[in-house]
Symmetry: D3
């Protein structure tokens, strides 16, 4: 059966009926999908500038100019597989513990209707329950993590689940395959050398922001692919991987980051990765300007969908 | 049958699944409604700052904090009558003539599913086709028009249909009851005394911005009611009726206007008006700040819905 | 002993060394004070737009133009009594329960160094622990509450302590004197008539936003004074009492509110109130523009300090 | 001879060829004028937020929607007398003393081509040289001064000429008629009671911001007229007389001010004043939003031109 | 005769008398010019975010810091040839068809006074009439087109002339030399592979955004030069060729674009191109921040003027 | 003795008690320091957009996310040497001459408490008195100057000390070692070729913006190091060295600049430089967005501190 694609713009301007991501059908309209897009509007795990609770709205609004064919990946993702927008999860904003549970439950339910899941955050806290749900379904995962920060810190104010800790928890819970994960885009000051040492023990390799700027996408993609090997991949993209000039609308911006072009090139070079779950997080629109952060996030999400569609095609 | 009300916020934060006006059901979910809310994203009739094409999106986003009971009117409009969001019309942005036709057609269709229509603009050009559709159904109308400007100018660049001319056209087409209409909030410089003279000939009385500020809402409402008499009323509200401090997000702002409190008080004093059609237009979000214009517009729309619900109750 | 006043601007521009509120000394520089100003940067109780965690910073920055003599109250508050800035409390952003405890503890400690306390929020959640601390010291309190909202709602997502519930909790805990409290500035939609009924049972009288606009400050102040009688007063001011045009930088803006002039006039008319504790909350600077919200909040805080200084003078 | 009016908008949109105030002719195109508009882009006298150097540009841009007939004053000022835009003075930004000299010289020259002068600032420092030039021509002046602040302070950092001191200097230099001047819109904290006492000695009466809000324009205008008596009037309007909600784009905003409607009403009530010179100052566009400050300033300037045109008509 | 250069800044600050591009003389002051700069404030052809009607104003305001000597091209363009600002065309905002005619007529007239024309848009619709006028004078043209988008789409809503179609129309009208044109900066999703196929048939070669980032300016310039061969060149620059971080102020931003440095380097490498007409379009200032888009556009325009001046020198 | 480091964030969120740079101790708390950070809030030397007077506040606010260990330099600067925040100098805003004197005096005093000085501007005028004070202490200096502009222009409006002239004055006063200085990041139009010739005579070598983009940091650093040789180095960084996309909040932005990543990489490559004084200037927050300029400046300042700490370690 032919996938149901985005609403046509032949007779309706793109500024009319702005709603789902890229004008895609709602999941309830198509029932099942290869790829579901799900919002996780939650930011109670934020340590500095909040507001990522409005991230799903912002990314959907910013996605309205996306057209259906991606020449860079040479695929029309929406005509290759069924992609649909599952709306937002309803998440308790006042209890992180309860929120983490309900995000995991929501993701589990979504995996019942879709083979692959792309989640629009929300802050990075949401990655842990999403990895839990993906790992329940696919086993241990290789994590490919784009971010300025490691996010493998331990508790803060005694809280185990915050936007700075999801990947330490995922490691501790045994959700990640051994030595199969990568951070990309890392830069900026740390608490100490021990941050790096502990991160390495947890099985991460680091691609720095400078390496993204100075090495070819092909070379870096090869490093990432050799790291993730045959494991199913969870792709987690904190929008603050981008330089603040390209992504002002985020909570903990770090100067010295890559441009959106550099990040999109690296993503596209990951064409063969078997991505089963993904998130694009930390878009905080009250700090954005003219939607530049939201537009960058929507292009990153679109490229992620393209990668998933390629993986789906390959696995048929 | 009990009306279907807004989605509950008991288990879903207001910032999740932002979509319809005030979290109301979509019209396609309820089939028929007493009041339908319809977006008309069109701004090709704008003479100065454009952007009202994004007005329906902005007003809906700005309406998410509205709760279901209006103590000022002592009515819960959404539980009294069925109110539903009919989405946006698909309007040709490149041909004003075609746009005017299709807006009229869209309004006619909406009147097939709803007894009363509240349209979110768009620029003020949209009022003419909406009045045409309302007048086809209800006969000659009394127009109650909140605006800084008369909008009874003649052609501009030879164009008969622009955001400065809808009410001259409506008069010429015989859509308005004789001497039954009112402008409220008028202020600012004109082209000449003849603007006022011609306007008067077209059957309008003027309540100035200063009168809104200095006289009681009850007194002014009495003047308006005695003017509109028994005619069915079309209520047209250009958000630039508000002072630019309260509505920066609009295309032709005029200093010296009333506050949102003053306008809302006057609107509420019109409780007995038999409103059959209405619009809230000229919200241009690229000039807005922190949604203050959109929020004011959403409160004005909400109050209009309350007035319509009161009218519906009264007419039962 | 002469109070230590603000740092002079004779030799230092106001834009140099911006730090404490109104350039006042730090509390650790003067040891004891009649009035201490304390920041409570916490916003995990917010239901819509977050960011009030940056409120104390914003209000202090916005206060740099305040000069030492208040002609409207005919008092130089900083030379009449010692006023000092106690800095910010360190509050757990991830646990509302723990935050409420530590705010109460911090307020208790501050009352050890100062007779009266003015707290800069933070979201309105902080009012409950502040009222607890004030009530421990002064007994049952009359609450004078400026806000667009009642904030006497019950739990949300099962959370007892949020920015919509502090005064129901305070009532339930017996911290408020019977029928001695007032809301001022109330407007906008509610969940139902029951919101008003329950609020009344909890001992509140309502001064609506329209009453602030239409009645004289003297008349309203008389109503408030007759309500609070001889009880020590806790004054809680949510900046969203102002119209969004005057206070865009807040989380749950409601159209139709009073201007800053109207609110300041009413506050000044409360000159004889025995205020022992106060807060100015819900300033969310990422939504502010050109500091207008912060400046309004700083003037409200300054006027509150003047009222406290008058009360202190009167009680000597 | 018929005055040359604004460029017509019949065949040219208002957004084309934005340049002179209200699309008026340049002074060099008409040679002589009854009223000349002159920019004074200078802000080196600013004590807090700078940027008024861009004020003339901002006010001209904000004036493009002004139409030629003012119904509130019942005059078409541009067809009654010749009004023309003289462009900006070239002022040394690095030496206040030199700037003051050249502004005076520029105003003197302008008075050679125009009977009345309206200057767009710039910070309030520019008022002193303008008053000097006006007084050279017309003798001692009555000053009508709209502002949140007295601007009769003495030196700051030893500087005699700053934006806080022009009227003390004017008094000291004997440029003002005795006891003929008025401040309107005054509010906010002062350095001490002595500020008021000294101001009174200098011959000023104060109309407070609260009086503007609470008393009728007619009553206040009567007070002002009886104060200025038969003296030629210099009208100086600091845009911060408006509340920050209406004029965020200024350097030293004070909460609690009047709306633009209130100020415009009072100005219009001064219809018979013999205004010979005027300024509209302290518009700082980098703090403005969507031109609301600039638009308010342009309406105030337009009303001032109307008052001057009425005075010119009366004196014929 | 020595060209008349920009007004000197020796005695007039750059923030005074902001008007013409780079403080150049008006065309009516010099009569004839080698290069005329002409504004085309028109945006009725926009499909998404409007506002480019204010583009000419924004680019002129953003050009005030440009100094007369360009070390990167080793030329002082304003002293080498006469450059002058011809102001804005008066264009019907309500009829695209009429607008296209009048822009062509305006360009024809301008070519009567100037050998080369640089137009400041306006949306990209304006390119078609400009190419018509240039081609009438110079014969078939090679188009060098900087843009994120191909702009060779066919009708939209039945409209032949919009900002997405100018170059298909130009091809159909035979205005372009065969296989002599280039797009540079292309990126982002398309409607389908057919977009590329049809574009190729129309004679375009594509330099992608990634190629601009990864290959040397010299290499790319060589490709462009070998493509345009000996044909007279029309250079059309949509500001959205820049990444949204560098050009937020535009209507259809695409992530992943080049920086302003990368685009300027490529432009400068085109030093020998015989450019006879050019445009810089799609600057929409209501989405700009701190003039960064306008400043980038003004530097691009300045470099284009430098290229034209070099071509003029070479052709003498 | 162990240096006193930044206040811990273990028990205090980073958004609480925002004050000193990077939460460092105040200089008065530690008495002596290896490196003192000093604010110079002064912008009366600005030729275009003012506002750098608020730069020190903005940079400190923007520095709150900086953590204590810099992996890029492999040093924890705050634990290696004592770093402390000395607050802001009190500078006369109305007299450039007096300001220059008092900045020099303030720097001299600071050098009494700290071996190395990092000053947060303020406009670039402040560099001259800072170089004077550094040179008094360390002898002739090699200047390493990051900027879009040469800042070796001569007088403007007769003023010798402005933000465009500090390094010509420093050269004339003999403060700079012969042929030991470098500009980096230069781009954009000049007044003429003579600007470059004169600059060269003053002993400067130029690293253009394009060279920063296209050559390796190591190569450029080698050029700089060979230029500065053994001289003590003064490092002066105008934030407009960054492209306007990365630093909109500045007074004279030039398109075509490097990213923050490129500038930080070059700075880090200067690891062995014996920096004795430094400034980060021209941050003008009223033009900034979401603190991106301030955050970039704070990272540049942090890296400068790291370089100074390395130099201090090396010289022990």
């Amino acid at each position: 059966m032919e996938p149901v694609g985005p609403r046509s713009t032949a007779n309706e301007p793109r500024f009319a009926n702005i709603g789902t991501f890229a004008r895609l059908p709602r999941l309830d309209q198509v029932g099942q999908a290869e790829i579901a897009i799900l919002g996780a509007p939650f930011d109670a795990g934020t340590s500095y500038r909040p507001g990522a609770r409005f991230g799903p709205l912002a990314i959907r609004n910013g996605s309205q100019l996306l057209r259906p064919f991606d020449p860079a990946l040479a695929i029309g993702p929406f005509s290759t597989v069924q992609v649909a927008d599952a709306g937002d999860l309803a998440i308790n904003p006042y209890s992180i513990a309860e929120a983490v549970e309900s995000i995991a439950a929501g993701a589990r339910a979504a995996y019942g209707s879709a083979r692959r899941l792309l989640v629009l955050g929300g802050d990075h806290t949401v990655a842990l329950p999403l990895i839990r749900a993906a790992s329940e379904r696919f086993g241990q995962l290789a994590l490919v993590h784009f971010d300025a920060h490691l996010d493998t810190w331990d508790t803060y104010f005694g809280a185990p689940y915050t936007h700075g800790t999801p990947f330490r928890r995922a490691f501790e819970e045994g959700l990640l395959a051994q030595d199969a994960s990568v951070h990309a885009g890392i830069r900026g000051p740390l608490y100490g050398q021990s941050d790096l040492d502990e991160d390495s023990v947890m099985g991460f390799e680091i691609v720095t922001a400078d390496e993204i700027a100075l090495e070819s996408a092909a070379t870096l993609a090869e490093r990432i692919r050799s790291r993730t090997a045959e494991h199913p991949v969870y792709l987690s993209i904190d929008i603050d991987v981008l330089d603040p000039s390209a992504a002002p609308g985020t909570g903990t911006p770090e100067a010295g980051g890559p441009s959106s072009a550099q990040v999109l090139r690296l993503l596209r070079a990951l064409a063969s990765l078997p991505i089963v779950g993904a998130d694009v997080v930390e878009v905080s629109p009250s700090y954005d300007h003219a939607e530049i952060t939201a537009i960058a996030a929507s292009h990153i999400a679109y490229t992620t969908i393209g990668l998933m569609a390629l993986a789906a095609s390959a696995s048929r």
